[in-house]
């Protein structure tokens, strides 16, 4: 495919879309799917056929549309007589509602009077969608639709107008940092791999996403897989790799399906494969399905897993950029990181860097969960304050309860108390208050949440997900969890709290990988801001939030199942 052929496809598709009066995007991501959105979609398709509207209406499945709690969501873009497109977003759509929707809106042309979400609501209006801009717009299963919306144009630009060094310079200028958690500068990582010597290099997309409550990466893959593939291909060109892998967890069947479809379509049009855009650049992408162990998100464990070995981390150095998959220089980035790349190349690094804060550029996708009025997926500029995210966008705490804390960064993160609500959310600020950006899970807690219990929950997660290779993490998380359990059962003493802190320091300092090093963070941050709650459990044998009931721990005392599965 060359530029003209691409342009031809785009024009044909745009012309086709002009003939459609309505484009109907049904959210078929996990949240809405659990509310029956697949049946809603089927009902819509059937309804459209029965009403003989197939030439005027296109119905497609998309990734998460954001406000999961109001699912199943259906978005209808209707073309007005003047060519203007008018958007309606229907909430809580059932099969019955779908039939109505076809009859009234799609056939009749008049939007349903009720059941629509106000699109000027801050939940939608305050977002800034870069990574998610294709969700609901691009049909993830039709490459033409994606091309018409701009897919692969950045790849074409990179291959035909920029040298690999130019691409890296743009990425560096954009200030883009890794969205997988640590926030490592992407440009620096690319340039390290670019400079590494080796006959072959590899690009890996980390789509393991194991944080409890997180589904940002999954949504991007489900809603706009080509954006990620395009980012990977640009990365491959920049660092000098001809092979890429997407490592995606097996629990994401829809993401896997859509990736497979996307790969096949992109290869057929030679947007991936050999001599892409008739240049000398070759790039293939293969899928690798992980079994879903949290630790396999750690780079060196991920590499071991792709190599077909047991997914356990190894000490670094050597870093994957120098010696990664099969000893080759390897670039590993997160899904959301790759999803930002096309935008950087399209508008230039400087334009990208205009959004965000001094040291954190661009936007970040968060998965809002917990005690918050609007749970779902939002994308906001870096530096948006926690208050804006929780109260303006998320609609605040339901039932008139008081905000207590927001947990970010998953099991390696911490709890941010109310006094820091005006904190601009970026990499540095979060670390300053003892938390962590992580991949973007944001769990809101109100006065009915017990912080000791929260700490115990995350410690249990780390205990269960520890790979078992190194002693501090394997044996230490067990001890820490059992100490926390003693506290929640009102059987702990101040000596136990001291021992908890001592173990926290040990794990942080001596664990081999980020899992063990980060595991103490929820404990340390809750101790930092909510020590009085710990003390109430110890001294007064009382849970201020009323969560812990003080029943005796089960006989196993938190010892994980001793079973062995080969």
């Amino acid at each position: 495919m060359n530029a003209e052929e691409l342009q031809e496809i785009v024009e044909r598709e745009l012309a086709r879309q002009e003939t459609r009066r309505h484009r109907v995007a049904v959210c078929t991501a996990a949240g809405c799917l659990s509310l029956g959105s697949d049946r809603v979609k089927a009902a819509l398709v059937r309804g459209v056929e029965e009403a003989q509207l197939a030439d005027e209406v296109e119905v497609f499945g998309t990734g998460c549309l954001g406000l999961c709690e109001a699912g199943a969501l259906v978005q209808v873009d209707s073309r007005q007589a003047d060519g203007h497109v008018c958007r309606c977003l229907y909430e809580k759509v059932t099969e019955a509602r779908a039939v109505e929707l076809v009859r009234q809106h799609l056939a009749g042309g008049a939007p349903l009077p009720s059941g629509q979400l106000p699109l000027d609501d801050p939940f939608f209006a305050r977002q800034h969608r870069v990574v998610l801009q294709g969700s609901g717009v691009r049909d993830p299963e039709r490459l033409e639709s994606c091309l018409a919306a701009g897919a692969y144009q950045s790849l074409q630009k990179a291959l035909t107008e920029l040298t690999p060094t130019d691409v890296i310079a743009e990425i560096t200028a954009s200030g883009l940092r890794g969205r997988g958690g640590g926030g490592y500068p992407t440009g620096l990582k690319w340039s390290t791999v670019h400079k590494a010597s080796g006959p072959k290099k590899v690009v890996i997309c980390n789509a393991d996403e194991g944080d409890p409550g997180a589904f940002m990466d999954r949504s991007v893959l489900e809603g706009d897989p080509h954006r990620v593939l395009e980012g990977m291909a640009i990365a491959g060109y920049a660092v000098g790799a001809e092979q890429g892998f997407v490592y995606v967890r097996g629990e994401y069947p829809l993401a896997i399906d859509r990736l497979k479809v996307a790969l096949k379509q992109a290869e057929r049009l030679q947007l991936l494969g050999n001599r892409i855009f008739e240049t000398g650049f070759n790039f293939r992408i293969d899928l690798r399905i992980g079994a879903g162990a949290f630790v396999c998100g750690e780079e060196t464990a991920l590499i071991a897993s792709v190599e077909g070995r047991r997914g356990t981390p190894r000490p670094r150095p050597p870093y994957p950029a120098v010696s990664g998959l099969w000893g080759l220089p390897t670039l590993i980035n997160n899904v959301e990181t790759f999803a930002n790349v096309a935008e950087v190349i399209r508008g230039g690094g400087a334009a990208f860097a205009a959004v965000g804060t001094e040291r954190s550029k661009g936007t970040k996708v968060f998965a809002l969960a917990g005690k918050i009025a609007r749970t779902g997926l939002v994308e906001v500029p870096m530096g948006t304050t926690l208050r804006e995210i929780v109260f303006d966008i998320g609609g605040g705490i339901p039932d008139g309860k008081a905000f207590k804390a927001a947990q970010t960064g998953g099991p390696s993160g911490g709890c941010i108390p109310a006094q820091h609500l005006d904190l601009p959310v970026d990499y540095e600020s979060l670390v300053q208050v003892g938390s962590f950006m992580g991949s973007g899970g944001l769990i809101v807690m109100d006065e009915t949440s017990c912080m000791v219990d929260v700490a115990a929950f995350f410690m249990e997660f780390c205990r269960d997900e520890s790979c078992g290779k190194c002693v501090p993490c394997r044996a230490g998380t067990v001890q820490m969890h059992s100490l926390l359990q003693k506290l929640t059962h009102f059987e702990g003493s101040e000596a136990d709290v001291a021992q908890l802190e001592e173990l926290a320091e040990l794990l942080k300092a001596t664990s081999l990988c980020g899992l063990g090093q980060g595991a103490p963070n929820p404990v340390l941050s809750t101790l930092r801001y909510f020590r009085d709650e710990y003390l109430a459990h110890v001294r007064e044998k009382r849970c201020p939030a009323g969560v812990c009931k003080g029943s005796a721990p089960a006989a196993s005392a938190g010892a994980p199942a001793a079973e062995v599965s080969p």
């Binding site: 205990r463 520890s466 394997r474 067990v478 079973e563």
Partner: protein, 238 residues
Amino acid sequence: MTVKTLTLDGKPVSAREDETILDLCREHKVPLPTLCHLEGLGAVGACRLCLVEVKGSPRLHPACTLRAEEGMEITTGSDRLKRYRRQIVELLFAERNHVCAICVVNGRCELQDVAYAVGLDHVRYQYRHPPTELDASHPRFMLDQGRCVLCTRCVRVCDELEGAHTWDVAGRGAASRVITDLNQPWGKSESCTSCGKCVQVCPTGALFEKIQPAGGTVKRRDFLTYLKTAREKKQWIR
């Protein structure tokens, strides 16, 4: 081969570029406890006992996998490191069932040696006493999971030197267990050649020869250096 100069606990030392900090410590008689490392096997950096401080780095680094570099300043025995080492050994004792008095390697156990080295006189963490299994199906050897510290020396020697790869680790976290073949009894293993290497390299009483009574097992590690030199340098010397 270029030679690097660096300081080890303040003393200037020189190193070949293929040497690790642990090699230097051994060479200069700097005491550094280790458990997962064994000369002759690939290093994994898993037990975390050999962690050292490197000036200018916020992280601690395992000496067994850390290559010597020009100008490095290494500290091996700060108070902090000593405290961590003791905690790690305590965690190991609390993790499974170490009842030395009735153990086949009592008095000749590397875990015991390490415990003495770090000054361990009691364990402050809760003993977990997990139910563990004993595999006595092999005609000559036994495996007592209760004494295993998951150093994976058996896994590595069987894979790297014997080439049988009978051992592996299954499960994760505290439920990790060494297994033979696909978690079949050792005695049924078709890959095991009964060479006994795993038994010799095991630092604890987890792997032992059947005939030996409590406190009777003596392990011989020198064969490993012999095999390694024989292989790599084609010299058949001990």
